[in-house]
């Protein structure tokens, strides 16, 4: 049977992928704009289309706790949340990573309160960047769908055993319909395979999770988390390759768009990169040598990849959909740090955009292109940061 596109929102794409993963346990609490993922999944549960035991717990703190408990018992356990939900999970988010549980959590990125706002920005997951989770960011609905399967494989890889957040932008992605090509169940089944992770609390031998770990070994355990992160990119590369073979869609750690002969590039994550590509196509028509660079992962940070890729360009504009008050924003800072010892490095400019779901328009991005042209010619504005589209 020929593969067929079906129209799905980003949230439905996530739910569809979760259905095909067929986790043992789902524990979730509703929060806009994550709600349609869990509502759709509840339908699958109620219809008996999955074998999942799902529980609508009383808060996100309980959702993450139950997910951790289920994973510790050896289940494939999943949850999904956004913004304040992730913030309320905080304590257990760290526990999940430090106990090395291969959980996949859907995140629909939303601005953190306050003031309260339900629209998309990355302040929630950027705040959780040091929690020890792998983070993958999705540009569109197809990528959302595909990332769930790859995330599961990465999380459950024996060399990794770390939880993964699969991020998509609130409303812009989660509530917009696009054509998505789902894979047949059998293809998914073969790709994700049977879960090898048996859990921590198996009946075979008594095992205590989370006892006191003071000056004696805490430090070593933290270092182990770091060591595990170091093993992630080779695993991702292998899984992305296998994914391409089985699903026919190829992903890289960093996606490059029209960069072959580019002098300047715009770099950013998630949905804004769709608009960036439009702007680049239009600028190319005018003969401007501009391209785009899209890191798909923020944790682990793909520094070595970026160093290699970005050093080819004269100037890079880095879009952050979150702020770090009193400092420079995260994608910018971490990218700039990579070049500290390099003799060849691009000029860089930081843009904070789209906070609270503010639209990052073609016009705003055209200004970035103009800025970068100037920056590459004069060097003026190097290592500065500005707010894109804010009212002064």
């Amino acid at each position: 049977m020929a593969a067929k596109y079906i129209p799905l929102t980003g949230a439905e794409s996530a739910a569809y992928a979760m259905k095909q993963i067929n986790p043992d346990v789902l524990a979730a609490y509703p929060i806009t704009p994550q709600t349609p993922i869990v509502m759709k999944f509840s339908e699958y549960v109620a219809n008996g289309e999955v074998d999942t035991v799902s529980i609508t717990v009383e808060s996100e703190h309980s959702a993450m706790s139950a997910t951790v408990g289920a994973a510790a018992a050896g289940a494939r356990a999943m949850t999904a949340t956004a913004a304040n939900g992730l913030a309320l999970m905080w304590e257990i988010v760290y526990i999940a990573a430090s106990t090395r549980l291969p959980i996949v959590m859907g995140i629909v990125n939303r601005a953190l309160s306050g003031p309260i706002n339900i629209h998309g920005d990355h302040s929630d997951t950027m705040g959780a960047r040091d929690a020890g989770w792998i983070q993958v960011y999705s540009e569109n609905n197809q990528e959302v769908y595909d990332n769930y399967f790859m995330a599961l494989r990465i999380a459950e890889n024996e060399d990794v055993l770390l939880p993964v957040m699969v991020c998509q932008d609130g409303f812009i992605t989660s509530h917009s319909v696009e054509n998505v090509m789902p894979a047949p169940d059998q293809v998914v089944k073969e790709f994700i395979g049977k879960k090898k992770f048996k859990g921590l609390l198996t009946a075979e031998k008594p095992f205590t999770i989370g006892p006191l770990d003071l000056q004696d070994y805490y430090f070593e355990h933290k270092k182990q988390q770091h060591e595990a992160m170091k093993k992630v990119f080779p695993v991702i590369e292998a899984i992305q390759k296998e994914f391409a073979e089985k699903f026919g869609r190829k992903y890289d750690v960093i996606e490059e768009y029209r960069t072959e002969d580019a002098d300047i590039v715009i770099m950013g994550m998630s949905s804004v990169m769709g608009t960036v590509k439009e702007v680049i196509d239009a600028a190319r028509e005018k003969g401007i040598k501009v391209g785009a660079v899209k890191p798909r992962f923020f944790r682990p940070f793909p520094g070595e990849y970026l160093k290699k890729i970005l050093s080819k360009f004269k100037a890079v504009g880095i879009l952050d959909r979150s702020d770090s008050f009193g400092s420079l924003p995260p994608l910018f800072t971490e990218t700039a740090a990579v070049f500290y010892t390099s003799s060849t490095k691009p000029l860089v400019k930081s843009y904070i955009h789209g906070l609270g779901g503010r639209d990052t328009t073609v016009k705003l991005l055209e200004k970035v292109v103009t800025d970068l042209q100037k920056l590459s010619e004069t060097g003026e504005g190097n290592f500065t940061s500005e707010y894109l589209g804010v009212r002064e």
Binding site: T32, T35, T56
Partner: protein, 283 residues
């Protein structure tokens, strides 16, 4: 500017509302409008100085109340209204502090706070609007959803046993407990006045129609029909034991002024404790 040709009639409680925030976000037929009116009436009846009153809410359709009433108000995060309110009250005991929030906010994500504030008898009036569902987020199962009722996370009916809110509050130690529906405006207002005058933890459950979400999912989307239904299913029994009157999907809703047993509130017990310790040291 050209004057509008439409004369907007004043609402009797306009004085207490933030007109600049209108139109509000609530759906036509929602019980929240009646609930606010009863609250204002109860406040007037209790002779409370509105300037000395603070309203605290969590997140949800009900939570929006803090933005529409013209009082000092704190629209806190989901579930945290009660601890915020406790802090306010402890910092300034002269304030009348009211928590106005939804059943999900107060009994799911914030359930722990409710039982502990009740146990301590913190001097707060907690008004819980029970619409049997998470309204704001699109109708998921709440800890109040009756067995058999439909929700967006229970498309073929809920099978989890819900809380009996007045029972929980009474068992945890609330010193005043009542339940009314949005339709019992006079009695509800009387109860609110009593709750405001009780120096301790007062809890009022308002069974409130949500035609848009609960109604639509449960074949009761006709707002007037749902209001009539709540009226028809209600029976007043002030002597009922609040722990014995759970609400079911279609059964009787026992309403009334169930419990009024003042006891020292948190601040009084605290002062008493300190006084005793001092006396012991001085001896």
């Amino acid at each position: 500017m050209k004057k509008s040709s439409i004369e907007i009639n004043k609402h009797p409680i306009d004085k207490y509302l933030r007109r600049d925030r209108m139109p509000h976000i609530w759906c036509p037929g929602c019980g929240l409008g009646m609930d606010i009116t009863a609250f204002i009436e109860g406040t007037k009846q209790a002779n409370i100085d509105m300037n000395n009153m603070q309203i605290v809410s969590g997140i949800g359709c009900t939570g929006r109340i803090s933005g529409y009433i013209k009082l000092d108000a704190y629209h806190t995060t989901h579930g945290r209204a009660i601890p915020f309110a406790s802090g306010l009250k402890l910092a300034n005991r002269n304030l009348t502090v009211v928590v106005f929030s939804g059943d999900g906010d107060l009994f799911a994500i914030g359930g722990n706070h409710l039982i502990h504030a009740a146990r301590r008898n913190v001097d707060l009036t907690v008004i819980c609007v029970n619409n049997f569902i998470y309204g704001m987020t699109g109708g998921q199962t709440a800890p109040t959803t009756p067995v058999g009722a439909f929700s967006s996370t229970a498309p073929y009916g809920n099978f989890e046993k819900p809380f009996n809110l007045v029972g929980v509050a009474a068992s945890a130690g609330a010193s005043y407990v009542a339940r009314w529906t949005s339709l019992h405006t006079k009695r509800l207002a009387n109860s609110i006045a009593k709750a405001l005058s009780n120096k301790g933890f007062s809890f009022i459950e308002i069974v409130s129609p949500c035609p848009t979400v609960f109604g639509r999912k449960n074949n009761r989307s006709d707002a007037l029909g749902l209001i009539n239904e709540l009226r028809d299913r209600s029976r007043i029994d002030n002597s009922a034991n609040p722990t014995e009157i759970p609400i079911t999907n279609y059964g009787e809703i026992v309403i009334g002024d169930f419990l009024n047993e003042p006891r020292p509130c948190f601040s009084e017990s605290f002062e008493e404790g300190i006084k005793k310790t001092k006396e012991r040291i001085e001896k």
